[in-house]
Amino acid sequence: MPWDVIIFYIIATVSVLAALGVVAARNPVHSAVMLVICFLNVAGIFVMLGAEFLAIVQVIVYTGAILVLVLFVLMLVDPEDLPSFSDSQPLQRYLGAIIGAVLLLEVGAAIITRTQLAPQGQATPANIDAVGGNTQAVGQVLFSDYLLAFEVISLVLTVGILGAIALAMPERLGERIGVRRGTISLSHTRGTDEALPAGPRGETPIHIDPDRPRPHEDAPRRVILVTDPDERTTLEGDRRQSTAARQRTTGTSNNE
């Protein structure tokens, strides 16, 4: 077998296995890591297809920006809010597998039996080298044939940014100043650890309940989305309403 085929099979195997890992991993962070591996391999596939610029764009945009943001959000979301892996409906699981298998057969049959070929274009490797390389060639196509689409894309991205800001902004503007309800303060560790001093109201010494639930394994991953930092920190008197409310559902109570 020629070298390019061997390399293709290596890359393809790794990317398919990584894609399976995305679907099958129990921990969503593991899914994200698998997706990173898969996308890096897809960038390799793009290089094999002579699309170097696209490969780099794939790495910068997908792995460098989108998946970093996904991991960011994964760490922001309280793991108790995440659905557990096991309780997905079995019906959905079997149906998904069957539909997938059927679709794979259909698409496979379509690929093998396809007969129509598009007319050959001008972008042969020799022509691409003549204009200076893949980047220059793609640039010329983008800014001549697809200029309008390019402008529309920039509009779409602007609207996307505005929409994201509007969605993720706290409900009332006043809340951003002051207590920071519902936003994440990356600049202050107060409110992320129950043992830390309580801030403005915290003239009382730290009180640690001897029989409080000891979070261990999943502890660091469930603390970040804090609606009110002062609720998390322990004060004599009004203690930990949010954790108390959560414990009420499990039956144990910490209130005096």
């Binding site: 398919v16 898969c38 297809l49 997908y62 989108i66 993720a168």
Partner: protein, 102 residues
């Protein structure tokens, strides 16, 4: 198939697309579903670039660049929705998000 042809890439693309689709159908975590959508978009990009490679055109690559830009916009809005959801109704389980249905 001992010579590298467009079929290789099309099969890879189909495999990735269908794996992504199965994840989309079976998983309940909104973030994993989001990742599966990204996987499907990438799988389609492979097909586009492979067709362009076969016919010596650059249209496939141009389409793929547009598709990546759309994916970036989709990521921004999608993740903002997930953050807003987890803040308001404290869940990212698709089975629990049914406010519009009721």
């Amino acid at each position: 198939m001992s010579e590298l042809g467009v079929e290789h890439f099309l099969f890879l693309s189909a495999a990735l697309f269908i794996i992504g689709m199965m994840g989309l159908l079976t998983r309940r975590n909104l973030l994993v579903i989001f990742m599966c959508v990204e996987l499907m978009l990438t799988a389609v990009n492979i097909s586009l670039v492979a067709f362009g490679w076969e016919t010596n055109t650059l249209n496939g690559q141009a389409f793929a660049i547009f598709s990546i830009s759309i994916a970036a916009a989709e990521a921004a809005v999608g993740l903002a929705i997930i953050v807003a959801l987890s803040r308001r109704i404290r869940t990212v389980d698709v089975a629990d998000i049914h406010e519009l249905k009721d």
